[in-house]
């Protein structure tokens, strides 16, 4: 490890330590039900972990998130490519895609509950629905801004439309796809937690809801930290995907 990396880690840890210390100090002057100390929050989490509640909840949350988001990523890439590539499809469909993309997805919750219930399927549908639009929009853009020289190359080689999509268009849209995946993931994560809180109580979101209703503040704080950590893990996965998909790019440092 380089000194630069070490220094980076230290620099990043400083605010966290200061924050935790401030929290601890503040908690001395506050009633625990309003602001429990960080150690109390950790204790609350430990209680959950001992009863296996926490592990199970995390697993449930990650299952819905990864399954829903992977489906959205694949379907979104596919749909985005088709809408981006075929001019008529773009003219006909893009306004509706944008309309869906700019309205809050939770307005569809009642309908989703009506159609799919409040179980796993409903959560999955909601996660897909919430996160697919940014993927579609970005891939669509990526396809439309693809370098004309590469299209010309594929033409010169006598490529069919399908070959063109597979060998040129898909690769050309990866930079945009990654951007879409980032946005989509944030939405997917929000949708997962939201659906766990407002459909049947499940997963980490369900726990949060449950302990909120009985004012168990240490657990609430602990769960919030868990949720933030999970989002960081998820974004880390996207970073890995990005590195894998974009390793052909010249590095600007």
């Amino acid at each position: 490890m380089l000194w630069r990396d070490v220094r980076g880690i230290i620099l990043r840890t400083v605010p966290l330590v200061i924050f935790l210390m401030g929290w601890q100090v503040a908690s001395y002057f506050t009633r625990p039900i309003i602001l429990p100390s960080p150690t109390a929050a950790i204790g609350g989490l430990a209680q959950l972990a001992i009863r296996d509640e926490l592990q199970f909840a995390i697993l449930t949350t990650l299952t819905a998130l990864s399954l829903g988001f992977a489906t959205a990523a694949i379907m979104g890439t596919f749909i985005g490519m088709l809408i981006g590539w075929f001019k008529k499809a773009h003219t006909a469909l893009s306004p509706y895609v944008y309309a869906l993309g700019s309205s809050p997805s939770f307005v569809f919750i009642p309908i989703i509950i009506l159609w799919f219930g409040i179980g796993f399927e409903a959560r999955l549908v909601y996660v897909i629905f919430a996160s697919i639009i940014p993927v579609i929009i970005n891939v669509m853009h990526g396809v439309r801004y693809i370098e004309s020289e590469l299209i010309e190359l594929a033409k010169s080689l006598g490529a069919s439309q399908l070959q063109m999509l597979r060998h040129i268009v898909l690769g050309g849209a990866t930079t945009f796809l990654i951007a879409g995946l980032r946005l989509g993931l944030v939405r997917a994560f929000t949708a997962t937690i939201l659906s766990e809180m407002f459909f049947r109580l499940e997963g980490v979101g369900g726990l949060l809801s449950k302990y909120s209703s009985v004012f168990r503040t240490p657990e609430i704080f602990g769960l919030i930290v868990v949720i933030i950590s999970l989002s960081q893990v998820a974004l880390g996965v996207i970073k890995l995907v990005e590195r894998r998909l974009l390793k052909w790019k010249p590095q600007i440092t």
Binding site: E149, E152, L153
Partner: protein, 249 residues
């Protein structure tokens, strides 16, 4: 083998006026012939070559290959772009493999052909590199390899050696000559180098500045097989002078 009949082409310019690029270009290229197009910058050489391959449609006139209208689906032709058009996210290997993959050839066949052409072009050790990791000259070699790997009957090359150093250029000129002689290729070639044109061509077509018309077509009857050493002969100097004079007149 190739007939270019009354080809005329204009582009829409920025200010919506028409930019006339090609004006009634007519010529015929025989099977096995090396036909070079020479002309000043921006006169329309690339445009002409793209029309011959079917990448651009002429405003009027037509291109016939063996009597039939040119089609992009015909995979016996290879086109090498002046701008190279390498696929940035594909490695050297995958770039060269692309035409074969699109033809649906099987893996072992592809592997054999690519190994051969990589060896031939001196690209060994760079198979896994991405285009941006190569020098301009090497990128050009990859584009040449990609054009040759399908074993075409007709080769269209737009300034294929322009980014190479003088030494590599001569080596490749020699190699191109050998492939062409061996395979009996028909070649349409664009270059700015009069020496290169003389060395390689059976006939040289000189275009006027834009809008390009044919100024002259000169047959080069230097003896074959030709080697780079030919450049030092008197006959070569005589032809060089003729071509230069026609370019400037």
């Amino acid at each position: 083998m190739i007939d270019i009949i009354d080809v005329t082409k204009s582009f829409l310019s920025v200010d919506n006026s028409r930019l006339q690029v090609l004006l009634q270009v007519n010529f015929h290229v025989n099977r096995g012939e090396f036909f070079t197009i020479l002309g000043p910058n921006g006169c329309g050489k690339t445009t002409l070559l793209k029309i011959i391959h079917g990448l651009l449609a002429p405003d009027s006139g037509s291109v016939l290959i063996q009597g039939r209208p040119v089609s992009l689906r015909d995979k016996t032709r290879s086109f090498m772009f002046q701008s190279l058009n390498l696929v940035p996210w594909k490695t050297v290997w995958d770039n060269i493999a692309l035409p074969l993959v699109l033809m649906g050839q099987n893996k072992s066949e592809i592997k054999e052909k690519i190994n051969k052409i990589i060896e031939f072009m001196g690209l060994n050790g760079f198979e896994k590199h991405y285009p941006h990791q190569l020098s301009g000259g090497m990128q050009q070699k990859v584009a040449i390899a990609r054009a040759l790997v399908t074993d075409p009957q007709i080769l269209l090359m737009d300034e294929p050696l322009s980014a190479l150093d003088a030494y590599t250029r001569e080596v490749l000129q020699d190699e191109i000559l050998q492939i062409i002689e061996k395979r009996g290729l028909t070649v349409l070639y664009v270059t700015h180098s009069v020496d290169e044109a003389l060395l390689l061509s059976d006939r040289i077509c000189i275009l006027t500045p834009r809008p390009a018309r044919i100024k002259d077509i000169v047959a080069i009857d230097l003896p074959k097989p030709r080697r780079v050493s030919l450049k030092n002969t008197q006959e070569f100097s005589r032809l060089r002078k003729i071509i230069w004079d026609k370019l400037f007149s």
